[in-house]
């Protein structure tokens, strides 16, 4: 792997998240734990291969809270530690995160949050810069992969210098931007084993200790603010002195792009160390300008701080930002959003060179379940079972969860009615069971089950809620890029761990109806759903079949994979296949159904769907 090479000065091409991993290697980090979540997932994905040769211990934890707790303990033991999560993952980890703010750290501890403005792959676009303020921990925000790598090293030094955990706040356009990275030195020594020196007055947060530690937290922040004033990631790009722009994170890239495109030269204060803010530096910048534009995505956090500061140092300052109505509070920025405001301030026109083409109605293309996806077969079988029992969609609530199977929301299945967060399928089922007159049907994947699907099940058993719990077990964390999980018994470093048996675990809780089925066996799956829907109590179905993409890859390694076709003599063009199964490989021709051989994965799961047996293996040479 190129990113493991100890060749300082060499330039390589890395994804933002890969650059973060290189930063961890260069920073001498010894312990990393994470739970995958877009846009943070490639940190773990890269460490799966890089950790062992780099000498780092790497783990996938079942959820972000466990990862956070492990990292805190590892740091307290004297090992530089890191955890990465998506923005909503920090909600899960927040219980531990908040109190690490109080205890402080020994060896460096850095927490990466990967925020997702525009919610490209998320249930919300919350701005986790508030978490730094909530927990009272310093925060760094990179604009580019290269800066991210350098900041990681700085973050560990800062963490140890003041004894505080550091929040490293990224966004999708840093995590998933690929750029040229200049490699730095890899330290010769890496500490992966320390010793936990007991200090219960500090690490046991009983009320009396917590009360004593709160002022210490504030003292660490005071020190951090002093350091922020001299931080190399906070700097000014001098311009014409007329208008100032204060910016942080990826918004900086759009400011600089449009500075070039528009041929204007505002002064730019680029902030990388954004909590606590360098107040003196900011005050000086504000004092020397009449108009300041604030370029930050999502919440007006810098803007409010600048406004508060201006009250004392430059009350007549004109602040152009979100609260002035110039910039939006929602969605990620782009050069145009930022540039249009800059153009207005300089009274120049934004060059528009695009052509207006006539409007042609284009079909939408939302993400769908992949060809061969076992979840499709599960949803299809449930639809058949409901039809056979004359249960209408209004008679049930499809309580979905976070993973590929959420795509069951799409036609023709439309089997997702309610979703909040990881694990909500089963927690919400209790509320629906009690307060609605419908049967809750919860869908959860194997990885999400381990993440947060167990406490809800305990609740529903304890409080005697009837529901159907469908565990769609494809034996991998698929959506985020196929990371191993406890159900596979393979660890993050691809070693053999203990395989956690979902069925045994659920039986151990006292559930009587627990059945495992292969959803490709549509008849058996349908029969089981019929039983579960008529069962008076919690019914658990584990629909187990490997992720089709991985199964295809494995089969292909062993030899040729069959491609299916439609026997045109048998096809009656009834459309039952597309209307109830809708594999993306199906293409409806005017008089007959067909299969796109470039899309078909040769799984054969569609074969039992056709009442006329029209799906057949396409023999070689026969087209």
């Amino acid at each position: 792997m190129e990113l493991l090479e100890n060749q300082p000065g060499k330039k390589i091409f890395l994804l933002g998240n890969e650059a973060v991993v290189r930063g961890l290697i260069e920073a001498g980090v010894g312990f990393v734990a994470t739970y995958p979540g877009t846009p943070s997932s490639e940190v773990g994905g890269t460490l799966e291969k890089a950790a062992k040769p780099a000498g780092i211990h790497f783990e996938y934890a079942p959820n972000e809270k466990v990862a956070m707790e492990e990292a805190a303990a590892s740091s307290a033991s004297g090992v530089r530690s890191f955890t990465a999560m998506k923005h909503v993952g920090l909600n899960v980890a927040s219980d531990a995160f908040m109190t690490v703010g109080y205890t402080g750290v020994r060896a460096g501890l850095v927490v990466m949050t990967a925020d997702d403005p525009s919610a490209h792959s998320s249930q919300n676009e919350q701005d986790n810069r508030y978490y730094a303020r909530l927990a009272g921990v310093p925060m760094l925000e990179p604009a580019t992969p290269q800066e991210g790598k350098e900041m990681i090293k700085y973050a560990f030094d800062l963490s140890e210098r003041i004894g505080a955990m550091v929040l490293f706040r990224t966004t999708t356009r840093m995590n998933h931007v690929r750029g040229v990275i200049t490699l730095g030195d890899i330290p010769a020594e890496r500490k992966t084993k320390g010793h936990f020196d007991k200090d219960p007055a500090r690490f046991v947060t009983i009320p009396s200790n917590a009360r004593r530690e709160h002022p210490l937290l504030l003292e660490r922040l005071r020190k951090a603010e002093e350091i922020a004033e001299d931080c190399p990631f906070n700097y000014i790009i001098e311009g014409d002195g007329k208008i100032g722009i204060i910016t942080s994170g990826v918004a900086y890239n759009y400011v600089m792009e449009m500075r070039n495109v528009l041929g204007i030269e505002p002064d730019v204060l680029k902030l990388g160390f954004t909590f606590p803010l360098p107040k003196k530096m900011l005050a000086d910048f504000i004092k020397s300008h009449d108009t300041v534009m604030i370029a930050e995505e999502l919440e007006p956090i810098l803007e409010k701080e600048v406004k508060a500061l201006a009250k004392d140092v430059n009350p007549s300052l004109r602040i152009v930002g979100k609260e002035s109505g110039d910039l939006p509070l929602t969605y990620e920025y782009d050069p145009e959003v930022v540039g249009s405001v800059m153009a207005r301030l300089y009274d120049v026109a934004i060059p528009h060179e695009h052509e207006e083409l006539k409007e042609i109605e284009l079909p939408v293309r939302p993400p769908t379940l992949c060809p061969g996806c076992p979840h499709r077969a599960t949803y299809h079988a449930l639809g058949k079972a409901m039809k056979a029992l004359k249960i209408k969609p209004e008679d049930v609530v499809f309580s979905s969860d976070i993973g590929c199977y959420t795509l069951g929301i799409q036609e023709p299945f439309e089997m997702a009615d309610f979703l909040l967060c990881m694990g909500s399928s089963v927690g919400a089922a209790g509320g629906f069971a009690q307060s609605s007159d419908q049967i809750p049907i919860s869908f959860i994947g194997d990885s999400t089950f381990f993440h947060s699907g167990i406490p809800g099940l305990v609740n529903n058993l304890y409080n005697k809620h009837r529901f159907v719990y469908v565990i769609l077990d494809n034996s991998i964390t698929a959506m985020t890029g196929h990371q191993p999980n406890p159900g596979m018994g393979i660890t993050g470093m691809h070693e053999v761990g203990q395989k956690i048996d979902i069925e045994a675990l659920i039986r151990g809780l006292g559930v009587e109806f627990v059945k495992v089925v292969d959803p490709y066996d549509i008849q058996a799956t349908m029969k089981l759903f019929k039983e579960a829907l008529q069962y008076d109590g919690p019914a658990v179905i584990i629909a187990r079949h490997p992720c089709a993409l991985l199964e295809y890859r494995d089969k292909k390694r062993k030899g040729p994979v069959p491609v299916y076709t439609v026997n045109e003599d048998k096809c009656t063009n009834c459309h039952i296949c597309v209307d109830t199964f809708a594999c993306p490989a199906f293409v409806a021709l005017p008089d007959v159904m067909s299969i796109d051989p470039a899309v078909c994965l040769g799984c054969g799961s569609c074969v039992p769907v056709c009442p006329f047996d029209a799906f057949e293996v396409l023999k070689e040479g026969e087209e």
Partner: protein, 197 residues
């Protein structure tokens, strides 16, 4: 290179756009040209619309604004049409004519528009538009999945790209798995020849 160049790549998840963009990035790195790319990962990748922006040279923003792309690299006709607003006046659209029909069309909920009509409208506004049947050419090379490398071959023949054909081919060889190098060289050559013809 002087200034910057923007290439917007559009298509459908699973078509190999990520690899195609990485090949371009590799070519840039080999030549010490600055490159920034933004990619799509996660849920959106599952059969949905995929857009990758590639910026070469003097560039800060990983995203490309409307009317700013020098080249629109379209893996699929409908997605090319959807992404055409990114292309600047006088820019080049490189367009694979082989459609990926969304399942909603087969479900009868929506229509797949006439490819001829889309091509005519694009050519009318962008005379430098190049069309090819990349998927068919990839099959000729040995695997439909190599359509992305066919497209890269075609891109190598587009005027104004800061890389020679040989430099692009070298980047392909460095980016694909060793056992399929020959197939991909063939795919590349077929794409290149389709434009040069």
């Amino acid at each position: 290179m002087k200034g910057s160049m923007s290439i917007e790549m559009v298509g459908v998840g699973g078509q190999g756009i990520l690899l195609a963009s990485k090949i371009l990035g590799r070519a840039a790195l080999n030549k010490d040209i600055n490159v920034i790319m933004s990619e799509v990962h996660g849920m959106a990748q599952r059969g949905g619309v995929v857009v990758t922006s590639v910026r070469l040279g003097d560039a800060y923003s990983p995203l490309i604004s409307d009317g700013s792309a020098d080249i629109l690299f379209g893996f699929e006709p409908v997605e090319t049409y959807r992404g055409i607003r990114r292309l600047k006046k006088g820019g080049t659209a490189l367009m694979n004519l082989n459609p990926m029909v969304p399942i909603y069309v087969s479900l009868g909920k929506q229509k797949y528009p006439s490819i001829d009509e889309m091509v005519a409208e694009i050519k009318d506004h962008f005379p430098k538009t190049i069309t090819l049947n990349a998927t068919e050419l990839a099959e000729e090379a040995g695997a439909a999945i190599a359509a992305n490398v066919v497209m890269i071959g075609a891109l190598s023949a587009v005027e104004g790209l800061p890389f020679t054909k040989e430099e692009m081919l070298e980047a392909v060889k460095q980016s694909v798995p060793p056992k399929v190098v020959d197939l991909n060289i063939k795919a590349f050559e077929l794409g290149y020849a389709a434009v040069k013809r």
